[in-house]
Amino acid sequence: MATTVPSIACLGVIGRNNNPLHTSVFPSYDPTTNSFRPVRTPLQFSLIISSTLDVFELRSRHNTAAGTGLTGDFGLLHAIDDRLAAYGFETNTGTRFVAIVDMRGRRLDPAAAAAMADKRLAGAAAGLREGEMRPVFKAMQVAYIRLLQNPFFEPDEHSPPAGQGGAKITSRKFGQDVRRIGENWAPGVAVL
């Protein structure tokens, strides 16, 4: 089996009203064609991201019952199949970040693989530790906060306090931030 490491396949932001605010899809390594392309169609990613809402709901119900989960980090929401897994984070204001990780999203080039083997980091190919997604959410939160600081950004427009739905985020800067986060993350990366 080719040595592959996890990468982010999709990053999503969901608003307080369960409305999609932003979705960025990242290409994954496809060993059959030796190229990079998204593992799913946008519709499928949309379905995947929306289905995490179920888990958010279950988990937050459980958290309120148990009084846990104050950090907002929901960790692994669920594995979608043997390749993709969804991780989640909820801010205090109810905005949710979802990271869909492709466990075989990047090919490890042999030299790097050898170097990692030396450092006993070869396990990185095998899976993820708890908390390894935290930098992603931290960075997304920073990007989101930066977006909120923009005086022209009207949060109520995107998640009306009383109501349904909301507009999507159109900020180019936010999109770039998310893109940067998604492209730069790899297991073990602490700062994004």
Binding site: N17, L47, S51, D54, L76, A79, G123, R129, Q164, G165
Partner: protein
């Protein structure tokens, strides 16, 4: 797991077989030997009749209820569970498989003499030629089934312990014989099956007196039984007795069974430790003639001992052995050596699967969930690797079929393990890793997820399997009989057919093969139910969507609708804005609905799909009127669809605005309805048949019908079409039989109008409406209903208006908008009906005058449609307001009271009922007001309409009352020379008698005898009124000052004597003169005295007839500032008389200078007359006058004016005359003080430099 041979994957449980009861039980022993072994089977048979008593049944039932073969495979309540047995019932006999296989016929043993006799082996061993494994197979399901189904660990025989003493011994002996017989048969068979006996006592209470223990002991000894394998079961009364006995029995039997399997396990370990591969009975002659290698034998032995350990529930031991077997199996010595074309290859794969499944089960048993998942994953990877290297690769349908199967196997294992943390109620999706795996890098998938995920994974692989199958070339899909041999040979090497059909069966050319769609749907349905159990509704929807796609391929349209319709209807994707998901759902449902012919659903979907939010599908008509074309069958009745707000993603948005935040009942308010279509550009324009706006209260609902050339003119500019709808009131219940949907929503009155309701995609339709308001209160625009009626269908869309802070745009015209300022444009406050009663003053005087009685007439006019009961409040407000009187015709007059100093009021004066359009006059009278002032007069009419007696309506009118002084005047008091001589001090007549007392009034009755002075009072008065006034009389009133002097006056005015008066226009000055003569009572009193006079003007308003009533004459009194008369200072008075010279045109003037000395001193005055060019004079040029006290003297000059300034051309013209200034200086000789010469009479005036004298000109003289 169903695809694996029966029993191959089942959890093994110790097998107990009962013998000697009838088989009418839930679990008869029905295992059948394979045909090959049937005739060699060993028969074990009991000679006694099978028991059929209730007791036996009860016991059997109890045992079967505790049958463990279907128990969940986990080690949770192992401590509580004392036994775990698989219990089957045989009636009287059972067949055991032969211990040794026979040498098949036709096989010739090799030369018998020197060789040892042929060793016979078990028929299940690869050593025996009868076995399918012969000569080089590993192990197969048969072996597992042999132990699970055929060979019991314990054979439990049922007998009755007869209590009848006469029969007891006979029966006991029969039992002994039978048991011994059975034991012998078992011993012959070679199996080590334990034999146990249960005796069912038919006696209620076995008493020691009956010798039961002795009998038992005898039987036991007679049978040679282990004491613990002989059980006595009391009759089942009470049942607890039986249960306790059964419980004890089963516990004991279980330990015996475990012992049995331990022996077997020990045996197989012993064989393994021998370290040699046994030789088959007959060396193989066919095939490769290869026998099983030692490594293969080790796999077999390890597998066996693992299975036996599993029987004993020693799961760790079992796992170890299984792992060992697995490693050996996949090692280079076993599977690597098997060629992939050989059937043994698939057998080995199968064995690997079985071992892996059993490994996973062991791990799950121990609660190592993540390890189990990893084991699952590992096996998959190992096999994939193996198949890739040695087999036919993983890129074919066979591999995907296996992958799907492998996922389903895991789902089954998880189901069987019945993990309590996975109960749906816990809502857990996956389990946390066990302690040992914590902290490791785990794949997310390695946290064990619930079965829904596994089924879904299976479905995914089935998709791939189908894709691979579809990709097969036609040549491979042809049945082998039709295709050339070379092709068959080739495809045999290309396709992995492990546990799946050959290519020509998988996807045959001309008939249907494997129904992949159905397989996928099965898996997905299972997955979906699992997701739903755990409230993963959205995930379930995703599965449903995949499922629907499969059903769509299979053209099961009803299924699609059943599956997707609830999702489409209930799930919040639409509300939350997951547009792409909705789009997918919509199109999937649209296709299905069209196929099924569900016209209403088609309409709903087409309506929603018009929204621009969805991506536009090319070549789609996007015309709602065409949506029902091609729908078969045609709906029987005309479909009618009603869409509530928010039910669909509406492409029409509507907003409503009231222009103003307030309106009044009885008036109308301007409002605007804006309907915007955000349909796909290029979609067909939508022609609404009508629309209806409804309000929550007090405003009637509005119906607008479509009309192409509506009465309202439409203004179109850019994307906006603005039209004005003229609303007319329409009673729905009048003769207008229009059975549209409109009528049912509204009963009573509604407003209707018409306009062009064509809605072009992307455009806005703006309707201006004037809505009449009827009742006061808060109202709100609630909702809008759009109706679309056509021959094919009726569609009705409701929209609820929502307030948006940023979009309150009012279309002034189609091109221009402005922001409506009030914050709630949907709400309107309807104020109460404005009063229509009017209070007015028909003859309002702008000014009232002081000293005039004011009378004001007011009219109260009822402008309402009906009569009104009215009351009147009058308030006069200002500084010290007068009390007033109100006269109402037909009623007593009312006089005001003043509650406060600055307010005078009259409250709640009943006016009675005023008929509609009629007027009531009231008169307000104010007494004369002395001072000029300003008042606010407020009249408030409060009235009730008989139709609404509870609501008072009031109308207030405020008037400003200005009271001003009509006249002002100024005054001059000019001295005159009194003609009569002064009294002499020495004249006794002039001496007043000494007063008797000090009473000052004493003089009053005496004739005055003092000094007299004459004065002329000239008053100039002007009218300051705003209109001409008629002055009828003018006079002065002298305030009496009796002590000081006596004064009389004579009036000289220009007023006509008739008393009709003169009309005085505003701002004109009129003059009136009064001659005053004052005389001191005595000569002694000459001191200065004040004179107080006031001017009295009698006037009327010009419009009143002065003669009609005297009461109309008002008297205004103007006080005249105080003058001072008399005094002791000397004064010089100049007066002149003119005497024209006859025969000349000259005038001589006689200037008389009178010097009065009222003092007690003797005064000397020097008079000097300067010569002047203006006149000539005669008289003393310079003289001295001596004046005695209280005397006066005069000097006369005669003046002849010299030149006429007219002639010199410098006069004042007209020849009237001119002023000359005589240079006369009067000097007090003693004080050397020049006295002022005071003009005292006509023709003399005071100038700047002394007095001046009037010289009349020609005309003056002539006149």
């Amino acid at each position: 797991m169903d695809e694996y041979p029966a029993g191959s994957l089942d959890h093994t449980v110790p097998f107990l077989l009962t013998l000697g009861t009838c088989t009418a039980t839930p679990a008869p022993h029905d295992a059948v030997l394979s045909a090959a072994l049937q005739d060699q089977a060993i028969l074990i048979r009991s000679e006694l009749a099978a028991l059929d008593s209730d007791q036996a049944h009860a016991l059997l039932r109890y045992m079967h209820d505790r049958d463990a073969s279907r128990l969940p495979c986990n080690g949770r309540d192992e401590a509580a569970r004392k036994y775990r047995l698989r219990i089957r019932t045989a009636e009287r006999s059972l067949l055991l498989p032969p211990r040794h296989a026979r040498i098949p016929d036709g096989i010739e043993l090799p030369a018998p003499a020197p060789a040892p006799p042929a060793v016979l082996h078990s028929p299940y061993s690869p050593l025996s030629p009868v076995s399918p494994l012969y000569p080089d197979g590993l192990i197969d399901t048969q072996w597992i089934r042999k132990h699970q189904d055929l060979v019991p660990s314990v054979l439990l025989c049922f007998y009755t312990l007869v209590s009848d003493p006469t029969l007891a011994t006979l029966w006991d002996n029969k039992i002994k014989t039978d048991v011994n017989n059975l034991r012998a048969q078992l011993g012959q068979s070679g199996y080590k099956t334990r034999l146990a006996v249960v005796l069912l006592s038919d006696q209620v209470i076995p008493s020691p007196a009956d010798g039961v223990p002795e009998r038992l002991e005898a039987i036991r000894r007679g049978c040679g039984l282990d004491p613990k394998l002989l059980f006595l079961v009391p009759p089942g009364d009470p049942p607890q007795e039986l249960e306790r006995a059964a419980e004890n029995m089963l516990t004991t039997l279980y330990s015996v069974a475990v012992e049995y399997y331990r022996d077997l396990g020990r045996h197989s370990r012993k064989k393994r430790s021998r370290g040699i591969a046994p030789q088959p009975t007959v060396p193989p002659t066919s095939g490769t003639s290869q026998t099983l290698s030692l490594a293969g034998w080790n796999v077999r032995y390890d597998f066996k001992s693992a299975v036996f350990a599993e029987y004993r529930l020693e799961m760790d031991v079992a796992l170890r052995s299984f792992e060992q077997a697995y490693e050996n199996l996949l090692s280079s010595e076993v599977m690597e050596l098997i060629p992939s074309w050989s059937p043994r290859w698939n057998e080995a794969r199968f064995l690997a699967d079985v071992i892996a499944v059993r490994c996973i089960r062991c791990l799950l048993w121990n609660g190592q969930h993540s390890a189990a998942t990893r084991r699952w994953q590992l096996h998959r990877e190992r096999i994939a690797d193996f198949v890739d290297r040695r087999g036919r690769g993983t890129s074919n349908y066979g591999w995907e079929a296996w992958e799907a199967r492998w996922a389903v196997v895991m789902a089954h294992l998880v189901e069987q393990a019945d993990i309590p943390e996975f109960a749906p109620a816990t809502l857990r999706l996956y389990l946390p890793p066990e302690k040992s795996a914590r902290g490791e890098r785990l794949q997310p998938w390695e946290l064990l997820h619930h079965t829904g995920y596994w089924y879904r994974l299976a479905a995914k692989h089935l998709h791939l399997r189908r894709a691979f199958a579809r990709a097969m070339p036609e040549s491979d899909r042809r049945s082998p009989s039709d295709s050339p041999a070379s092709q068959v040979a080739k495809s045999a090497f290309m396709y992995d057919t492990y546990m799946c059909p050959d290519p020509y069966e998988e996807y045959p050319l001309r008939r249907t093969g494997v129904d992949h769609g159905q397989l996928i749907v099965d898996r997905l349905t299972r997955a979906r139910s699992e997701f739903l159990k755990r409230r993963q509704t959205r995930f379930a929807a995703e599965a449903a969507l995949e499922c629907a796609r499969e059903l769509g391929l299979a053209q099961d349209w009803k299924g699609v609708i059943e599956l997707l319709r609830p999702i489409w209807k209930e799930l919040p994707f639409r509300a939350e804005g997951w547009i792409s998901i909705m789009e997918e759902l919509n199109w999937a449902l649209r296709t299905a609905a069209a196929e099924v012919g569900d016209a209403e659903l088609v309409l709903l979907l087409d309506w929603e799909l018009l929204s621009q939010n969805f991506t536009k599908r090319p070549n789609w008509h996007y015309d709602i009127t065409k949506s029902l074309r091609g729908i078969i069958p045609k709906p029987k009745s005309k479909p009618s669809v009603s869409i509530s707000d928010g039910q669909l993603l509406s492409f029409i948005s509507a907003s409503f605005l009231f222009k103003d935040a307030e309106g009044k009942a009885g008036q109308s308010v301007r409002s605007q309805l804006c309907i915007k279509s955000s349909a796909h550009p290029g979609a067909a324009p939508l022609v609404l048949s009508s629309l209806q706006v409804s309000f929550n209260r007090s405003v009637d609902s509005i119906t607008v019908q479509h009309q192409v050339n509506g009465k309202g003119t439409q203004q179109r500019r850019g994307n906006v079409a603005l039209s004005t709808v003229i609303l007319a009131r329409q009673l729905d219940d009048d003769a207008k039989p229009e059975p549209t949907a409109l009528d049912e929503a509204d009963s009573g009155v509604s407003l209707s109008g018409s306009a062009d309701l064509t809605l072009i995609p992307g455009h806005s339709l703006v309707l201006n409406m004037e809505i009449p308001l009827r009742e006061p209160g808060e109202t709100r625009a609630d909702s809008l209903v759009l109706n679309l009626e056509s021959e094919e269908f009726d569609l009705r869309q409701s929209l609820v208006f929502r307030e948006r802070s940023n979009a309150n745009l009012w279309y002034i015209s189609a091109a221009a908008t402005k922001l409506v300022a009030h914050p709630h444009p949907l709400a309107l406050r309807v104020l109460p009906r404005p009063p229509k009663m009017e209070v007015r003053c028909p003859v309002w005087k702008e000014q009232c005058y002081t000293d005039e009685p004011v009378s004001l007439e007011f009219e109260v006019e009822n402008g309402e449609d009906i009569e009104a009961l009215s009351k009147l409040d009058v308030r006069l407000f200002g500084e010290t307001p007068p009390t007033f009187t109100l006269d109402i015709p037909g009623r007593a007059s009312e006089t005001s009271s003043s509650a406060r100093s600055e307010e005078s009021r009259l409250s709640s004066i009943q006016l009675g009922a005023i008929p509609s359009t009629k007027t009531l006059s009231v008169r307000l009278s104010l007494p004369p007001i002395e001072r000029s002032s300003r008042y606010d007069l407020t009249l408030k009419v409060t009235y009730f309409l008989p139709t609404d007696p509870g609501t008072p309506i009031s109308q207030t009118a405020v008037f400003q009352l200005n009271v001003v002084n009509p006249f002002e005047a100024n005054y001059d008091l000019l001295p005159r020379v009194h003609p009569s001589p002064w009294p002499s001090l020495f004249d006794p007549d002039g001496v007043a008698p000494l007063p008797d007392n000090d009473d000052e009034t004493a003089y009053s009755h005496l004739p005055p005898k003092g000094i007299s002075q004459s004065w002329s009072l000239i008053t100039r008065y002007a009218s300051f009124a705003s209109e001409p006034l008629r002055v009828t009389d003018i006079d002065i009133a002298i305030q009496p000052s009796p002590a000081a002097f006596r004064c009389t006056s004579t009036k000289r005015t220009k007023l006509p004597a008739s008393g009709a008066g003169t009309l005085i226009h505003p701002k004109t000055i009129e003059e009136a003169a009064f001659d005053l003569v004052a005389q001191k009572p005595t000569v002694d009193d000459r001191s200065a005295s004040p004179l107080d006079v006031s001017l009295t003007i009698k006037w009327t308003r010009p419009d009143t007839d002065p003669s009609s009533s005297s009461s109309q004459i008002n008297t205004t009194t103007l006080p005249i500032p105080r003058f001072t008369l008399f005094g002791t200072e000397p004064r010089v008075l100049a007066s002149v008389t003119h005497s024209p010279l006859p025969a000349t045109r000259l005038v001589t003037l006689t200037l008389r200078i009178t010097i009065e000395n009222a003092s007690n001193h003797f005064l000397t005055f020097g008079l000097a007359m300067e010569p002047s060019e203006a006149f000539a004079f005669s008289g003393p040029k310079q003289t001295t006058l001596n004046l005695l006290p209280v005397s006066r003297r005069g000097v006369e000059y005669r003046l002849l004016p010299l030149d006429d300034p007219d002639e010199a051309g410098e006069g004042e013209g007209e020849g009237e005359g001119w002023w000359i200034r005589p240079g006369l200086v009067v000097r007090d000789k003693y004080f050397q003080k020049v006295l002022r010469v005071v003009a005292a009479g006509e023709g003399v005036r005071a100038g700047k430099e002394g007095f001046e004298v009037w010289v009349p000109g020609k005309r003056g003289v002539e006149g």
